[in-house]
């Protein structure tokens, strides 16, 4: 599958990436090659009905609704470049 430059730019925009014209050309080829590889899957009969993986059925297998594993504000914010109180502080996002 051959991607167009426009499609590459669209994906780049969604990913918040600013690409140079050279990069657009590079990624056009690379992404097209990736899609070709993925296209191999089209040869598999992929019915739209879901198939349950064996041994995975039943609500009993799911997690119980109990509180555990909270990390606390200190650990939660440990990697934050900027903090205000116990919030992550980021450049203002305007709605």
């Amino acid at each position: 599958m051959k991607l167009t430059e426009q499609q590459v730019l669209h994906v780049a925009k969604l990913a918040r990436l600013a690409l140079t014209p050279d990069e657009v050309a590079t990624f056009k080829n690379q992404l097209s090659a990736i899609l070709d590889a993925v296209d191999e899957l089209a040869r598999v009969d992929s019915a739209t009905t879901l198939v349950a993986p064996a041994g995975s059925e039943g609500l009993a297998l799911l997690r119980q609704d109990v509180v555990q594993g909270e990390v606390g504000t200190e650990a939660a914010l440990a990697n934050a470049p900027q903090v205000a109180g116990t919030s992550f502080a980021i450049p203002k996002v305007l709605e």
Binding site: G58, L62, V66, V67, G69, A76, A84
Partner: protein, 477 residues
């Protein structure tokens, strides 16, 4: 051309927070109001190398909602990633359900002035909530306490045709969800949120117009207002030769208008794909049945039963079923008292008034159904008078004491024995021979005067019905 030439077409998407203790994919608490980021885990922080684990109770609640709304429950459903970049979404994607949701179809039934209506549902799917942003000075502050909280999204077909119907639909939907214990129904705190897809079309048109999605509708009043102004905007746009652009718009309640959310304009390419970190959600034999069996009678069915089998008015049925706990307690009292109307009167009158005054809920009530039944019996048997019963009820509500004990302590027992009643009657008659003459001369209304006199002598405790009977006998001589 006027607005009347067009009809509005509305589809609603409701996000309802599921009443779990922990989040959808991690054990962090869902409790409201902690310090920012106090309730986070490695999963809801979106840290690399961690895996989500599905909360069983969230799925049970979603199935319960689906059953209450007559959906088909899919034995196998699938998690998907919905991608967009926004600071309240730490992973860069939301885990939701897309192609294969948990609940399919279903409907919401509601009352309108034109009668009962039903709007079909497209689907109900389970997903995680995003975090919260607060804008302060030059910064935005990110709080991820809400990130990962379980939600269901209830999507209606575009079958609503007025803002009023949309509001009735939402109220009925909220009633059901709160009733079955899935959601707390709080619009202001955002645990029950609504987006509206609005378009207009001419009455004879066969295809829908272009729709806009309205957000920030956090009260029923705003929902009605927003739909109406948006429909009007579409009509004006079309009538002046313009076209409606499909977009997301924010309702501004202060100005009473909707405006475009430019930031989301090109965010609609969500690149959904199946969540590789989670296997499909597969229900076991009996999972749905056991949730179905535990489902309570739903409010509409209960209202109908109150009218047909308890003989209550539609109004009474409505008032008594406004709250599930209240209605459940009413049922228990009726079962004990073997009659509905007197119990209904106490519930809608004194009990509601006292609950209101003391700001308590029916769950905190101190008396048992058997005690209320005893009170009703005491009234029926003439042991206490109507006003006396009110006094007993107030004490019963305040203390939960035994009814007979209250009656004795307050000296509220009526005098029912003919002996003391006759004694008082004879005294009263002897004191006003003129009035006795008057009665015998045809002024039968004067019996009321004598009842009053007799009551006075008995300190207000005589059984008025019996006094009346005995008086008439005596006066007739």
């Amino acid at each position: 051309m006027p607005r009347a030439d067009y009809q509005v077409v509305i589809g609603l998407e409701v996000h309802a927070q599921l009443l779990t203790t922990s989040k959808l994919f991690s054990g962090a608490s869902t409790s409201f109001g902690g310090a920012p980021n106090a309730h986070t885990s490695v999963v809801c922080l979106g840290l690399p190398g961690v895996l989500p684990v599905v909360n069983r109770h969230a799925i049970e609640l979603a199935i319960r909602a689906g059953l209450a709304l007559e959906c088909r429950i899919a034995n196998v459903s699938e998690w998907s990633r919905k991608h967009y970049f926004y600071p309240d979404l730490p992973k860069g994607y939301q885990v939701t359900q897309y192609e294969h949701p948990l609940c399919l179809g279903g409907r919401v039934v509601f009352d309108t002035p034109e009668g009962e209506k039903a709007v079909r549902l497209t689907r109900i799917h389970v997903e995680e909530d995003a975090g919260k942003l607060v804008h302060e000075g030059a910064a935005s502050l990110v709080d991820l306490n809400r990130a990962g909280t379980p939600l269901i999204e209830i999507v209606s077909e575009p079958e609503l045709r007025s803002a009023d119907d949309a509001v009735e639909y939402l109220k009925a939907l909220r009633d059901v969800l709160v009733w079955v214990g899935v959601n707390d129904g709080n619009l202001e705190e955002g645990s029950f949120r609504c987006d509206a897809n609005v378009s207009v079309m001419k009455h004879d048109a066969t295809t829908f117009g272009t729709r806009c999605e309205l957000k920030n509708l956090n009260s029923f009043r705003f929902i009605k207002q927003a739909i109406e102004v948006e429909a009007q905007r579409h009509v004006e746009l079309l009538e002046s030769g313009g076209v409606v652009e499909q977009e997301t718009r924010l309702f501004d309640p202060q100005r009473g208008e909707t405006r475009s959310m430019r930031s989301k304009e090109d965010a609609h390419d969500y690149r959904y794909f199946p969540e590789p970190d989670l296997p499909p959600l597969v229900l076991g034999a009996g999972d749905v049945d056991s949730i179905r069996e535990a489902l309570p009678e739903l409010p509409r069915a209960r209202r109908a039963r109150y009218v047909t089998s308890l003989g209550l008015s539609a109004y009474d049925a409505q008032v008594l079923t406004a709250d599930r706990a209240f209605s459940d307690f009413f049922e228990r009292c009726v079962a004990e008292a073997h009659e509905a109307k007197p119990v209904a009167n106490w519930f809608m009158g004194e009990l509601s008034r006292l609950l209101n005054e003391t700001n308590t809920t029916v769950g905190e009530v101190k008396f048992s159904p058997a005690q209320l039944a005893a009170l009703l019996r005491a009234v029926k048997d003439g042991v206490i008078s109507g006003p006396g019963a009110k006094e007993v009820f107030a004490e019963l509500f305040a203390t939960g004491k035994d009814v007979q004990v209250i009656i004795d302590e307050k000296g509220l027992a009526q005098v029912n024995d003919d002996g003391p009643l006759l004694l008082a009657i004879e005294q009263a008659l002897a004191e006003s021979p003129k009035n006795v003459e008057s009665y015998r001369g045809g002024n039968t209304k004067i019996v009321g005067y004598f009842v009053g006199q007799v009551m006075k002598k008995l300190g207000g405790k005589g059984n008025p019905k019996r006094i009346n009977e005995l008086l008439v006998e005596k006066l007739k001589g």
